[in-house]
Symmetry: C2
Subunit: 306 residues, 2 copies
């Protein structure tokens, strides 16, 4: 940790802001970025994009989801893609695993981390997964245990951890209860998602500080969408609360399919530039991200204009 500043305010409370020397960026382009694209992108092209992402310096990449192909056609090549992932020391691949069938598919691959997901807001969970959050939590707990018995890494991804499109602000206690259950089942990492981009720095700071307070050794990450331009402010709030892993997507892909061009996941190049300019290392070569931004923009445009 380096002290950003250690000035004492003349009035009011003593204020320390600590910035870490390094923050990790987790690329979710191939999964969340492409998930809502209406037209299928060939595994060959995805792998071409992946190579550029790796070449730019990313070491943690969410590559696909073992969801039933019917539900997410864009990711229906998950098994093929998994077989063809370049084996490079130091690279950690993650994939979403929605259920026991997905876990069976995951266990046949060399992907490092199984990511289990649910929504903190039960209305969003019901809309997305057709069951309550509590039902999903029982299910996810079981999947975490099964995955651990195979000595594979697990991550719990909590969607709508701050604001739900149907129910508004999600109470902190709901989020803590989910995280607690995941931790009790031995999860290796938890990611909190601002699925609709409506979390504020105040919420991010409060929720993450409290989770970090309760589980100081838990690896906690943030998945932020930039729908309303809050993402960079939320990253600062996250850093101030002690979160040092952030999801991003090339070209900011992953917006709403019904609003083309709308901001989706916070854009990798924007985040890397923002952090590096403040002396926070990401290990990523900012110059190479111009190419990846363009490459994925073209890939999506080319495909969706067919």
């Amino acid at each position: 940790m380096i002290h950003l500043l250690h000035y004492h305010k003349s009035k009011g409370v003593d204020l320390h802001v600590n910035f870490p020397e390094k923050v990790s960026i987790r690329d979710v382009t191939l999964r969340d970025g492409l998930q809502n694209e209406s037209v299928f992108i060939e595994a060959e092209n995805k792998l071409g994009g992946l190579n550029e992402i790796i070449d730019a310096g990313f070491r943690r990449i969410e590559v696909t989801s073992f969801v039933h192909p019917k539900w997410v056609p864009a990711l229906s090549d998950a098994d093929e893609l998994a077989k063809r992932l370049p084996k490079i020391p130091g690279i950690q691949y993650d994939a979403l695993v929605p259920n026991i069938k997905g876990l069976e598919r995951f266990l046949k691959t060399n992907i490092d981390t199984a990511v289990f997901f649910l929504s903190a807001s039960t209305k969003h969970n019901e809309a997305n997964l057709n069951r309550t959050t509590n039902e999903s939590l029982v299910h996810v707990s079981d999947l975490i245990s099964k995955t651990r018995s195979h000595n594979r890494k697990t991550m719990g991804a909590v969607a709508t951890a701050f604001v739900c499109p149907y129910a508004g602000e999600v109470p902190y206690q709901e989020v803590e209860r989910i995280v607690t259950t995941m931790v009790e089942n031995g999860v290796d990492e938890v990611g909190l998602g601002d699925t609709i981009g409506k979390a504020t720095p105040k919420m991010i700071y409060e929720y993450c500080s409290r989770i970090k307070d309760k589980y100081p050794d838990l690896t906690l990450s943030l998945h932020l969408h930039d729908t309303y331009g809050y993402a960079l402010a939320n990253i600062i709030a996250g850093i101030q609360s002690g979160v040092y892993i952030y999801d991003t997507a090339q070209a900011g892909l992953g917006g709403c399919p019904y609003a083309p061009g709308a901001p989706g996941n916070v854009q990798a190049s924007q985040v890397v530039n923002f952090l590096e300019r403040q002396g926070i290392e990401t290990g990523i070569d900012i110059d190479k991200l111009k190419n990846t931004d363009q490459m994925f923009q073209d890939m999506v445009k080319k495909q969706t204009s067919v």
Copy 2:
């Protein structure tokens, strides 16, 4: 002041984040928002916009500049506009005053505050004002003194207070030196400008904290552009350093004239929404800002498409 949070981090330094109960928003649409528009908007239309701005709850408005009409044709109606400003108790009008001729014009009006400006970066000052920062500082000091002798309010506006398009990051000491001279000459308020939107939260926090430390009783404001999407993060950093006055423009007007649609001043509706959602009052009716956004967008489109 309300405590945002008072959690103790389990590891690392004790972190307090204080949010104010209220933040003031200073509208700069009619001056900085329109300054670079290539076509003239009639005083009548400006006044119509001003009425909507006031109706939405803004109480501090920068309305024009007493610059020579040749340099900024968009504001060549300054004297007429000043005469026709609605006199409403509690509204504070500001206007830019570039020189002694401008001051003479200002003194004939009822506008409350004369805003004197220069750039902290001497390269930017030379490009804009054809003299060094030091030469401008002598000039501005004299104008502040003269204005005070007429018992009128003064504000010093420091452009490129963080990053200069020609010289890069501006050293803090340069900014402090300028502020010190202004304070010694009795200025009522200082505004620091992130003219090209490249200041980071780290810089904002450092520069503003240090200024507030040195001059705890100085009224300090921030003028942020959202060119790279940093403005909201910078507002949080500003608030954390004790700055509680922010400039905004309707529809985010004030971008570069050569990049139509590029973000300019941070957008009033975005800032008001962002702050109010975090429990920080602005006194502004967010619902009315949809109309003002649309009104000014139309005004500029209509004019520039002629």
